[in-house]
């Protein structure tokens, strides 16, 4: 009998090309590398400089998402890039993909989108895989029971050339989420609550496995929201064991097996769970019933609390600086804080159910005067599906801007950004100083909270904005 193993250990063991020793890390095989324009150009240059080939074009998939405009091209096809550098960076990825034979979901692809949205949509992300990308939110793919993590550009080059990485085995952290989330409380509230509990460095050196009744009940999109933010707790990766929800979501997608091969794959994937008796290095228990609509009040995602709970007093000068930057008052809740901009989108909350959640609040209501709201679908596929349901009409009727897919204001490097001092309620994942524009103040929230705040003009509880009937 083999010793009981965790889900992480099963995936790790299956990908070891050369085991680690005291002197050297393991050589770990990578099943899929995702590539985008920002973190790849210097890696391709290394390949060229050393005369190396791309080892597995078939295990490499590229898209445009970070630097690209989300406003449409003009009549003559000219795209409104923020800077010539952004345009040049995109052109560089196009050239690199052509030269090395990589499938690129560029401007002409009907599947283009944020790298962590399109991987799953295409069925490129599958249970049991190892997946990397020069992007820390690669942890998103862990929702499918894949070991997925972000790497630096030097390592992007390593994988391009060898399909392998040098890795020390991380530790494991189980986060058990017991009970059931209350009505009106979702995955984003849950993950903000978890990071608020364990801290921004609570997962450092670990791979998190999320498990328990509340996790099993989550949709795939909700699981992606949870795994996406694992890195905000310092963890390399987040994992959720694949189950029938996973298989149903993946079946029929472009890159998954079909017919008998599908059945065989499902049989294999079904074994990807932590064995009874397997040990984690650490375990944390969270009671889902305690989670409320949650927002951040400081300048990192660990400074999170229920939107009606009072902001705690700063314990030191560093926390005080964060409160000052946010203009947050200790003793008062975030609820009721005036809002300038609302952003719904990103690889955390830019999928169809996220847009529906926001639209439910906005239908029959209007964005408050003086508030600017941007809704940015995570991919072309999300955009198509949303438009087929008429969600774009709901957003436009409410006074929000409906944009083309991309990272947009999540990272604010494409020209979509807030002005100094503006308060942004954002469904993205980072509230660092200046993340959404120099001096911009970011409050992370769920799509429902973001939409309710847009309507109220102040940070608002979405449960006070029940869905209205469709106009007859």
């Amino acid at each position: 009998m083999n010793a009981p193993r965790t889900l992480f250990e099963k995936i790790w063991d299956a990908h070891v090309v050369a085991p680690e020793t005291t002197d050297t890390p393991a050589v770990l095989y990578v099943d899929l590398q995702l590539v985008h324009e920002v973190t790849s150009p210097q890696a391709f240059d290394v390949l060229r400089a050393q005369g190396l080939k791309l080892r597995r074009p078939d295990r490499t998939l590229a898209t445009l998402d970070h630097s690209i405009p989300t406003l449409p091209a003009s009549g003559n096809g000219e795209r409104p890039y923020a800077t010539p550098a952004a345009k040049a960076q995109v052109a560089r990825l196009e050239t690199n993909c052509r030269e090395f034979g990589i499938e690129l979901h560029g401007w002409n692809s009907s599947e283009r989108g944020i790298v962590h949205v399109i991987g799953p949509e295409l069925g490129a992300t599958q249970p049991g895989m190892t997946i990397v990308c020069g992007d820390s939110h690669t942890s998103t793919h862990g929702a499918f029971g894949a070991l997925a993590f972000g790497i630096g550009t030097t390592e992007v080059g390593h994988v391009l050339a060898t399909q392998c990485l040098l890795q020390r085995k991380p530790k494991t952290l189980a986060i058990h989420v017991d009970g059931e989330l209350p009505p009106g409380v979702g995955a984003k509230d849950l993950i903000l609550h978890i990071i608020g509990r364990i801290g921004v460095n609570g997962g450092t050196g670990h791979v998190i496995e999320y498990r328990g009744a509340a996790i099993e009940k989550l949709s795939m999109e909700a699981r992606m929201t949870v795994c996406n933010m694992s890195i905000e707790a310092g963890a390399r990766a987040g994992l959720i064991a694949p189950d029938d929800t996973t298989f149903a979501w993946l079946q029929g997608r472009a890159r998954v097996p079909h017919g008998a091969a599908w059945d065989a794959a499902v049989a294999k994937w079904s074994a990807l769970k932590t064995d009874a008796g397997a040990r984690y290095d650490r375990e944390v228990h969270i009671d889902a019933r305690e989670v409320k609509p949650t927002v951040t009040y400081g300048t990192h995602p660990g400074m999170a609390l229920a939107l009606d709970a009072p902001v705690p007093a700063a314990r030191d000068a560093i926390e005080q600086r964060a409160l000052d930057y946010m203009q947050a008052a200790a003793g008062k809740p975030m609820q009721g804080t005036p809002v300038d901009v609302v952003f719904v989108g990103s690889c955390t909350n830019g999928r169809l159910p996220d847009l529906r959640e926001a639209a439910h609040v906005l239908r029959g209501r209007r964005v408050a005067k003086g508030v600017r709201m941007l809704v940015v679908p995570g991919s072309e596929a999300v955009r198509r599906a949303a438009e087929a349901e008429g969600l774009h009409e709901v957003f436009r009727a409410a006074g929000a801007e409906w944009r083309e897919p991309g990272c947009s204001m999540c990272i604010a490097m494409n020209g979509d950004m807030a002005q100094p001092g503006q308060l942004v309620v954002s469904t993205s994942n980072r509230n660092f100083e200046g993340r959404q524009g120099k001096g911009a103040r970011t409050v992370l929230a769920s799509p429902a909270t973001a939409a309710a705040s847009a309507v109220a003009g102040v940070i608002a509880d979405p449960r006070a904005y029940p869905q209205q009937e469709r106009a007859a």
Binding site: V17, A18, T22, D23, T24, P25, V27, Y29, V38, T39, P41, Q42, D45, V46, Q50, L52, R55, H66, T83, A85, A88, Q89, R92, G134, D135, S136, G150, I151, G152, T153, T154, E155, H158, A161, T162, Q163, C164, L166, R168, V200, N201, T204, G205, G234, R236, H300, G302, I318, R321, I411, A412, M413, P420, R430, F432, E433, G434, R435, K438, G439
Partner: protein, 194 residues
Amino acid sequence: MKPVTRIHSRTAVLADENIDTDRIIPARFLTTTTREGLGRVCFNDWRYLPDGSDNPAFPLNRPEAKGCAILVAGRNFGCGSSREHAPWALLDYGIRAVLSSEIADIFRNNALKNGLLAIVVAEAEHHWLLDNPGVDLSIDVREQTITLPGGKAFRFELEPFARHCLLEGVDQLGFLLQHADAITAYEQHLEQAA
């Protein structure tokens, strides 16, 4: 990579905790396609005032911090994104080592691969270093020691392979390429299993 064996410098201190990669280099500077010249925008939004002049409140702008190659930073330095632009910017700015009681995983990995010493020190030493900016330190990679002015030294942990690569200037890609046969064998085994 050039070998890195020893660094001797005065320290500069950034006591803030959780200094994230967006603070080290804001995202709008990531549209570059090279790794050169990023020192100019290192800590950009903290370091300059809106009119482009130096912000006197940024600790590294103080005269005594000029030329310091060792940065002592608050807990959880380098959290956030995987951008390797962060260590590239720090190196180009003139920083050769970052000491903290905790350093984010991906940043540390990226830093060491570029010859930037990202070193985790114990709480007590970290406190002392934070409280005493401008001390002359000598970091010895081979011995894994940090020596204080009076000759007092303490040890730090360094992953053995990272240490080896720093000392010998080993190119990790070259090391990986030596495993080509094992990788091919692994891939053949994958195809057969499918």
